[in-house]
């Protein structure tokens, strides 16, 4: 599952640590999700999308079926 977290985060000038704090998760979780090591849970995906102010589909992309 691809995502645009790095891009959205960069546009706002937030470090991984800052985003992690806003999301109430560890910095390692942000890094792991951003680098594609694993996908976030659905509740966390909602928080991520809401913090960036966009729909979930604007952050995550399963190509066509992952």
């Amino acid at each position: 599952m691809k995502n645009k977290i790095k891009q959205l985060r960069g546009e706002r000038g937030w470090s991984q640590a800052v985003l992690a704090e806003k999301l109430d998760v560890s910095r390692q979780s942000v890094n792991a999700i951003e680098t594609g090591r694993y996908d976030p849970s659905l509740p966390l995906a909602f928080r991520i999308a809401r913090i960036f102010g966009v729909p979930i589909e604007a952050v995550f992309d399963d190509g066509d079926g992952a």
Copy 2:
């Protein structure tokens, strides 16, 4: 995390077993998600939304922050 799977499924006349087959998961998983015992993974949430032809936010609702 609340969801409208039961409603969307009912509108289409699909049983839990039929939906499970379309999603490629077990019937028990569909039941557990539908009855709120746990949330689907993000990839599964994408498949669910796509099968119903609606955005993820139209199926799932975390109230305001779960």
